[in-house]
């Protein structure tokens, strides 16, 4: 983890809604062509699972979650927090060696690019709906789904783990602004 000071310094609770920053987490953006067998098998071997191919789906193993971001793009996230002082990501090293170096795809470490807000409570989607055009009640948006959309003019990635537990990914530079907006919005539900 780079030595930066997160703009989020608190946890927030209002009635049964609560929100806290989840840090530090390894986040890696992976791009490649799933129809290329070399890429698919190398990525599968390193991750220990097949990359999700269907829109907005995720697959999870003990240590890593893979999220579909586009037809040739995924976000790989560590399930557990990592050592704060270390800037050494084993997964990045493995992927870089077998995928980047061999020109099968692109591996980008975005660990410090995104901030994760962990939201919990029974009214998360009521709050998010206030600032997003996405239909969170859609039958396609169940548990373990991921969606990229807009929340109060900011690009976000929303990972619904359960109805009452959601991880929200936002660019670090927007995190202060979005934190303040969610905090304020949660008062009116």
């Amino acid at each position: 983890m780079l030595n930066f000071i997160s703009p989020i310094t608190e946890s927030h609770t209002y009635n049964n809604f609560s929100m806290s920053e989840k840090t530090p987490i390894t986040k890696i953006n992976l791009r490649g062509d799933l129809e290329n067998k070399d890429f698919a098998s190398k990525a599968g071997k390193i991750l220990g699972m097949i990359l999700p191919n269907e829109a907005c789906t995720t697959s999870t193993k003990e240590k890593i979650t893979c999220m579909w971001l586009g037809p040739n793009e995924w976000l790989l996230v560590s399930n557990d927090t990592i050592d704060k002082k270390s800037n050494n990501h084993e997964l990045e090293r493995l992927l870089f060696k077998d995928i980047s170096k061999t020109n099968l795809g692109a591996v980008t470490n975005v660990s410090d690019h995104y901030t994760i807000f962990n939201l919990s409570g029974s009214n998360i989607f009521e709050i998010l709906s206030k600032g997003s055009p996405f239909d969170f009640d859609s039958e396609y948006f169940g548990d373990n789904k991921v969606v990229q959309t807009i929340l109060n003019h900011v690009d976000v990635t929303i990972h619904r783990k359960t109805k009452e537990n959601v991880d929200l990914y936002v660019r670090r530079s927007f995190s202060d602004y979005l934190w303040a907006w969610i905090k304020d919005s949660s008062r009116f539900i």
């Binding site: 829109a55 907005c56 586009g70 055009p133 996405f134 396609y140 990229q148 807009i150 690009d155």
Partner: protein, 90 residues
């Protein structure tokens, strides 16, 4: 407000998308052999019709992929959505 069906993500609100101009324009193979008028024609002149128009759109706040849309400019009704490189179904 209207809904666009991204060929990758499915139905989403149009505010997640950006318009990318007319689709199916082909860059001349030998630009140096064109007159200024012909080059300007390719570069700047776009259809601006009332009716069915073929357009490029980008799902910029979603999967960030480009695709084509055939849309009626007078009613905003979308007739078809198809991937880049594909021909519109008439």
């Amino acid at each position: 407000m209207f809904i666009i069906k991204c060929p990758y993500c499915g139905e989403r609100d149009h505010s997640e998308f950006n318009y990318g101009g007319e689709a199916h324009l082909v860059r001349p193979k030998q630009p140096t052999e064109l007159s200024d008028d012909q080059w300007a024609e390719y570069l700047f002149m776009r259809k601006n019709i009332k009716g069915l128009q073929y357009e490029r759109w980008n799902h910029s706040h979603g999967c960030r992929r480009w695709f084509n849309v055939s849309r009626d400019t007078s009613t905003d009704k979308i007739h078809s959505v198809y991937k880049i490189g594909e021909k519109p179904s008439k």
